[in-house]
Symmetry: C2
Subunit: 211 residues, 2 copies
Amino acid sequence: MPRPGTTRDKILNAALRTIRTKGYTATSVDDLCAASGVTKGAFFHHFNSKDALGVAAAEHWTKVTSVLFAEAPYHHHDDPLDRVLAYITFRRAILKGELPEFTCLVGTMAQEVHQSSRAITAACEASISSHAATIEPYVAEAMEQRGLDPSGADTGWSAASLALHTQAVLQGAFILAKAKGGPAIAEDSVDHLALYVRLLFANHPQKGEAN
Amino acid sequence: MPRPGTTRDKILNAALRTIRTKGYTATSVDDLCAASGVTKGAFFHHFNSKDALGVAAAEHWTKVTSVLFAEAPYHHHDDPLDRVLAYITFRRAILKGELPEFTCLVGTMAQEVHQSSRAITAACEASISSHAATIEPYVAEAMEQRGLDPSGADTGWSAASLALHTQAVLQGAFILAKAKGGPAIAEDSVDHLALYVRLLFANHPQKGEAN
DNA sequence: GACAACATACCAACCGGTTGGTATTTATAG
DNA sequence: CTATAAATACCAACCGGTTGGTATGTTGTC
């Protein structure tokens, strides 16, 4: 178990920055060594291959982001629907600065390597799914509390599918932001997502007190 | 103006297949030559650089897809809202086969090259925007016909922003499909998109006859 | 002196791109 | 219609630089 601030961590943090900027394939091992001030020998001492670094970077991303979201304020609402809406508002609020600062590492990597590296793809999938799993219970609570059960409906959906849909919207918003060169379009899409969630739960008033 | 079936077209069609499968950066000029049965000399006779091929591929993609969508059946509904919903249904229906067969060339390329090639990024942006522009008037008609004017509302949106939002959802759905290795998750997200559009226009009945 | 943590030097394969040259088509002049 | 000149289309071999990866050290620490 390496301590923080070690060479390994420096490489991993450089990977987060560089891959989000240039993409995984266009990022060379030499790029990562230069960005982290480390020699090639040191790099391959800590990672058996570039793909192994890719997997480790995805896992590192999962840790970093899970801390960020765990400490975010959107969890502190009594109404679970408010937590979901505050989550979306939080996602919208962090669309600031340059593109590599707010876009998603694992979305970028999954797009590039899904046909060439099963290991990296699996690590990216796990990262997205584990993040979606943190908001799925809030959606499920909100549905239960309001007696919303659309599973059998013609247009059936579930807490899990809505949680993943939020991630799809965000990933798509990142792509449009990259194509257009700024976050404005991403903000619009996240606004549409927030409106969708509000409409889904409209006319389904909260049932008395929780519990 | 080159005729169809020429060497240039063979390279372009190989680029569509190969880049959607491997990504732009991971696709080498030699890959494209092998896939199209053309020598390197011929390749650089038709394209000054790999990036020039990237731009041409994005423009070729725009042509190919615009024909596909222009001939699709969703245009033949009297109610403009039905056209929008049928468009989404059509997008869902073509999520079939292997991933490289239904994912988006320009979304993939924009993600990879947005920091390295302005020319390719601009061509990708133009492709996405021009496609969104084909459904925006249907959205606008549906809004006008039903007296829906959310532009000044607290949760303001427009025909343009909704048209682009559909593209964001699709691009995000492609990324999740790549991460998960199949189209199932993408279908779920497109279903959510369809439900969103229906909810947006619910309780806004159509005003009499058109005209 | 054993072992992890590095550093240096190096390699074969591959990268985008160029070279000099040839085959084929097209334009033009008599 | 023919001779010829000029483009265009194409090819195989090659180039310098970069790629991911390795082999062989050296250093510090228990």
